[in-house]
């Protein structure tokens, strides 16, 4: 009985620390969720003289995937993006982040191209507006141009099936 209080404090502390250990400190909640996706106008990767702006996608639920040819985890998520694109459930657009155009094109040629189109963010300034701090990062944007979900780090089968696909269905209905 005498030790009830210290033990209680100890157990609470252990529970809190235990939860703390399980959380990934690299995952930071984005302040952009439920906010309009930052506007931009960037040149396309395939046609460097043709600009693209996300306003062209009003009325569409779409994914914006930031990637780079130098990014190792992008290789990891790539098969999932290809499968997602093949399923046709949601169009995938790419933001090629701080990359060289030739490297990016080469990468798409050898790995397969899941993107409707890519834009070149060579200096990473648009990435900054989107709060990108580690590629790959993927944004789900709704018909009105609002960011509904952000995946930090590579997409996983779990995140696609449990979060992205139900959200896409919801936003499309």
């Amino acid at each position: 009985m005498k030790f009830a209080v210290p033990i209680l404090i100890f157990v609470t502390l252990v529970i809190f620390l235990g939860f703390g250990l399980r959380r990934d400190p690299r995952l930071l909640p984005s302040p952009l969720i439920d906010r309009p996706a930052p506007a931009f106008q960037l040149m396309r990767l395939d046609e460097p003289n043709r600009p693209f702006s996300p306003t062209e996608l009003r009325g569409t639920v779409w994914l914006l995937n930031t990637w780079a040819s130098w990014c190792v985890s992008c290789r990891q998520e790539h098969p999932l993006l290809l499968a997602l694109a093949r399923s046709g459930v949601v169009p995938v657009y790419g933001l090629n982040y701080k990359d060289k155009r030739t490297d990016a094109l080469e990468w798409l040629k050898s790995m397969g191209n899941p993107y409707i189109l890519n834009v070149q963010d060579a200096d990473g300034r648009v990435g900054m507006d989107y709060g990108v701090y580690g590629v790959p990062e993927t944004y789900l944007i709704d018909k009105t141009g609002v960011i509904r979900f952000k995946q930090i780090g590579p997409l996983t089968l779990e995140s696609i099936e449990k979060t992205i696909l139900p959200l896409v269905r919801n936003l499309n209905s």
Partner: protein, 125 residues
């Protein structure tokens, strides 16, 4: 005369540059690098930190205040970029918990002292 003028211009421009560098350094010391989370933006050599320092510098040149730049960064990366968390309902626990814990500890200590027999006092007598 011309050379003197040139010197003045050069000196003043390099002077303002140094103070700008100093301002960038001071602000980026208060900001956390998102890539290497235990480093400040001033210390980090991460690519993003370099970009952000350049951005901060650019905004300062355009006359933005430190607070405006902080707002710019938190709008994109969240409060996490600030080493000093803002005071708002979500962070009340963070700000008040230490004081509450100290008070709680103090009261607990007082109770223990009061309820315990004054052994050493008696020995002293």
């Amino acid at each position: 005369m011309n050379t003197i003028l040139l010197y003045v211009v050069l000196l003043s421009s390099s002077g303002s540059d140094a103070s700008l560098d100093q301002r960038v350094l001071e602000l980026s010391r208060q900001l956390r690098c998102l890539v290497c989370q235990n480093e400040s933006l001033a210390d980090s050599q991460a690519d993003l930190a370099v970009d952000l320092r350049r951005e901060i510098r650019g905004q300062m040149i355009h006359g933005k205040s430190d607070d405006e730049i902080k707002t710019f960064l938190t709008a994109r990366y969240g409060d996490f970029v600030l080493y000093r968390p803002p005071f708002k309902p979500e962070t009340y626990v963070l700000w008040f918990a230490p004081a509450l814990l100290v008070c709680g500890g103090f009261f607990a200590l007082m109770r223990i002292i009061r309820t315990q027999p004054h052994s050493h006092c008696r020995r002293g007598l």
